[in-house]
């Protein structure tokens, strides 16, 4: 079933309460009602009894469509699927931790604005070169990323010589907005925040600190790293994933860097 919710471009947490009589795998998708390829979340949970989905939305659309359905039955109208019930959908204030982000750093302030606008619109933007208002940052939005004629598996990379970020449109279009933000903040961190410019773990955690501080959902961060590492299951990526998981799980209580 699909519900229309007016979100008026506000920063909110959407709270979706679902009830099932027996264990049911419930899929929840929140997408922009107007802009194509613009997803705020796409997740599932196996539910027995009452359960709540919290969808953190630091950016939202004018209206969103909330898809809730039994994964086994597919998306059916309410009167055709009696295996679950949507009890309520409420809008609650978004919890952020902006105090942990150094907005006194002009790079961070400018890039958060630039990347937010890029990620929200990436699903409908043409390929090309995009720049921040202050011309500090450039994204090359390319149909694919390739080296010597071979398409690369990475969704994004940054040139440390000039800070230009290359993004594969083919991959980016399918990512949710939080996924896109996590990727861009990682690339940004390499050049503009890291002490060691080529340290992947340091870039992961520096990017995540901004991502989580802005109020983006934890689950979407896990998801984007997991998706990427499945395509590149190296020993280093296993270490990265463990550190990322540890950092996210401890974020609410510690807010500290865990890398050495």
């Amino acid at each position: 079933m699909i519900y229309t919710i007016p979100t008026k471009y506000e920063e909110i947490t959407l709270v979706v309460k679902v009830f099932t009589e027996s264990p049911v795998k419930i899929r929840l998708k929140v997408i922009d009602a107007e802009q194509p390829n613009t997803t705020f979340t796409d997740r599932f949970k196996t539910i027995e009894g009452e359960a709540v989905f919290f969808v953190r939305m630091p950016v939202s659309a004018k209206n969103v469509l909330v898809y809730v359905y039994n994964e086994n039955n597919g998306n059916l109208a309410k009167n055709l699927d009696k295996t679950f019930d949507v009890l309520s959908i409420t809008k609650e204030p978004l919890e952020k931790k902006l105090d942990i982000i150094d907005f006194g750093n002009p790079y961070i302030k400018s890039f958060v604005n630039f990347s937010t606008r890029f990620c929200y619109n990436a699903g409908s933007l043409a390929s090309g070169n995009y720049t921040s208002d202050d011309k500090m940052f450039v994204i090359k939005y390319m149909p694919i990323i390739e080296d010597n004629g071979t398409e690369q598996t990475t969704p994004a990379r940054i040139d440390i010589e000039n800070g230009i970020i290359e993004i594969s449109k083919r991959q980016f279009v399918d990512y949710s907005i939080p996924n896109r933000m996590a990727i861009l903040l990682h690339e940004f961190s390499h050049v503009y925040i890291n002490d060691n410019i080529d340290d992947e773990v340091e870039a992961d955690l520096n990017g995540l600190l901004i991502y989580l501080g802005l109020g983006y959902p934890r689950i979407e961060a896990f998801e984007v790293f997991a998706k990427t590492f499945i395509n590149a299951p190296t020993e280093q990526n296993k270490v990265r994933y463990d550190k990322i998981r540890n950092f996210i799980e401890n974020f609410e209580t510690k807010n500290t860097y865990l890398y050495e």
């Binding site: 469509l65 409420t90 929200y120 619109n121 994204i139 990475t154 440390i160 000039n162 395509n231």
Partner: protein
């Protein structure tokens, strides 16, 4: 004086209750039954608020200006998201 404090307290209490009610009230659930209601073909970026408008797209051939924080002379490499 006591009366004034009581009125102020009452006002603050009512205002807080109103804020909590407005921020947590259940939304009326309107199910979309007509698939054409989910059509996104007519989207126009011009309708977006300033903080969500797409960034500026450079014209073809326009030079790329960026502020570089640091670089390694003579060495160019591109850290990738997946490794």
């Amino acid at each position: 004086m006591d009366k004034q404090i009581a009125y102020i307290g009452l006002g603050i209490g009512l205002f807080t209750a109103l804020v909590i009610y407005n921020s947590t009230r259940k939304l009326e659930l309107v199910e979309v039954v007509d698939p054409t209601q989910t059509d996104t073909k007519s989207f126009d970026h011009a309708s977006l608020p300033v903080n969500l408008k797409p960034p500026y797209r450079l014209a073809d051939g326009e030079p790329l200006m960026t502020a570089r924080r640091k670089g390694i002379n003579g060495i160019s490499f591109k850290p990738r998201f997946d490794r």
